[in-house]
Symmetry: C2
Subunit: 130 residues, 2 copies
Amino acid sequence: MANSRGQSRNTKQLELIWRAVKDDSSHPTADQIYDRVRKKLSHISLGTVYRNLQKLVSDDKLQVLMLGRAQHFDPLVERHQHFICESCDRVFDVMVDRQREIKPAKLPHEGFKVTSHQLAFYGVCKHCSA
Amino acid sequence: MANSRGQSRNTKQLELIWRAVKDDSSHPTADQIYDRVRKKLSHISLGTVYRNLQKLVSDDKLQVLMLGRAQHFDPLVERHQHFICESCDRVFDVMVDRQREIKPAKLPHEGFKVTSHQLAFYGVCKHCSA
DNA sequence: TTATTTGCAAATTGTTTGCAACGGT
DNA sequence: ACCGTTGCAAACAATTTGCAAATAA
């Protein structure tokens, strides 16, 4: 319970999970993270990984990206977009320059309040098109 | 096998499923469609619904939208975007005018070939903000 | 001490598949 | 008759949950 009532504790599990994702821009899934963390703490459970990832998300340290049917975690919380390679499924961060940004406030119909928008690009990455 | 080798057959099930979605812009999920079709053909199975929806998608009669962890089906196949209400989870079609469209070809880094892009708006719909 | 977090296993959700029977063509 | 399609149930994948034991504060 990091964000409601009650104290949050600094557990070894939370710490290891955070270290495993904080500098990773490859957008890993929960069980990719599980595999990594398990190398340091073999008895950790997948449920614990999920619970701690949720906590990091609600503490705004991670963003979730839904791709296909799995959630991917992204430590880059600043505003950015993604490029998804349709050949290898890798996900790349894309910084869209402010000038090109869409003005979502004006787009939908009357009475709809837009608070955010998301843009994703699909194609073939440098690595796969070689 | 509608799109590979072999003939496709016109079954009662396929016909009913198509009728249940073709004029529907509410972006129903597979089991919402299942519920509807079951009223006409009570012994139809969910697997059949999934298989026929897949067929309609590969015949380009439907588009799939992944929202959360469920697929939603959209008979509007022309290029358009979506507005997702964060309060009621309803999905609305948004036609973005061509001039405002982003030019994806120029956005990502060198060596990346962009073939398509998708834009989704999040916010509160007219109905919920009332 | 004591409330939060863990590990484990079982439950859930959404989707796919194997297979014998069914039914278009 | 042939072969695609169906219904059913079981398999699957990703995620969540219940609960008793473990542990941070």
